[in-house]
Assembly symmetry: C2
Homo-oligomer: 204 residues x 2
């Protein structure tokens, strides 16, 4: 059975959501943050040397990186292709995969910068840089979403797990107010039974 190493509260709740949507069996191992630094502690480092979450284990496979975990879980458990396109249509797959990797590869860094400056103090270069990059990316995501329900259409796909995390991070950092359609998108994701089930299992 697949095991998810889950650091409360953070990124990996969106992997719990993925597993709930897919409906596969899994075991949840929970870890707590250091209450002072709010960072992961040594128990997670004993699982994987980076000491970050999510990490999944499946027999002899240990896997990090949210986008890769999404790809692996969907390849293994979404055999009906409800959440990811078939790979034999390479262009459709590439367009989909671009949105899976865009979240971690491009949107995350400016949000991290914003989080670090909000926790402490502004910086003459970093603060305007992160403001401009957040505006660029969240405008781009807004345009992609348009009046669709989810990032790639009117049904949920693998691209939504990473993107909804980025939108939730922007909300937590007070950056979402200019993007009401993204707030509605996040609320739509949160209202899904699988998301509610994930919160019940992994947060409450």
């Amino acid at each position: 059975m697949l095991t998810l190493h889950h650091l409360r509260i953070g990124r990996s709740i969106f992997t719990v959501w993925l597993l709930e949507e897919v409906g596969c069996e899994y075991q949840l191992k929970e870890y707590l943050r250091n209450p002072e630094t709010m960072r992961a502690q040594d128990d997670l480092k004993a699982v994987h040397p980076l000491g970050k979450s999510p990490v999944i284990e499946d027999d002899d496979l240990m896997l990090t990186e949210s986008g890769t975990i999404t790809a692996y879980v969907l390849d293994k458990y979404d055999s009906e292709h409800r959440f990811h396109p078939r790979r034999d249509d390479l262009k459709t797959w590439a367009r989909y995969h671009q949105w899976v990797t865009y979240a971690e590869g491009s949107v995350f860094a400016p949000l991290l910068l914003k989080m670090l400056t909000l926790r402490s103090t502004d910086h003459p270069v970093i603060t305007p840089f992160s403001d401009a990059e957040i505006a660029l990316h969240f405008t781009h995501i807004t345009n992609q979403l348009g009046d669709k329900d989810y990032i790639l259409g009117d049904t949920l796909s693998g691209a939504d797990f990473g993107m909804a995390y980025m939108v939730s991070m922007a909300e937590r950092l007070g950056q979402l107010e200019p993007y009401p359609s993204l707030q509605a998108y996040l609320d739509r994701c949160r209202a899904r039974p699988a998301f509610i089930q994930a919160i019940n299992k992994a947060v409450e």
Copy 2:
């Protein structure tokens, strides 16, 4: 024919290298940075709204995100699987893909933080954060490399294009001195005929 939109000088030189290794035909469209801000200019925004590079076009497909571009190019042109594993062995593929996405998804952000503080001034939280994260990731990459020639073994793979870029970025930021095996790895990548050809075509 595939077109690569290439911003001089930056990330996309590693996509030129990928295309040279694969040996496919491609067209290179070059863009210059604003000499004052060192950032991309509006001509690249006319190609794609994010105004970043690399971007590839292949008939009606427009694709961003380095890791996805690597996956697409190898799926389409590396039919002999010289540089990427077959997908029917899902665990091997996932382990490989994890290293493709790790570069952009985890290693890049701390290097970006370091670049921004080096260009301007230190920050009481961001500077120690980026120092610790760079040490964490570059130790992890060093351990993964071990005494192999490339990240996943003694032959080049799709995981090396992104990773070599991260190592080159660390070199440029003066962060590579504690990691002599990574310097040797970068030098090994740069000595490959396809890398030299990429530099000749896209930099000189």
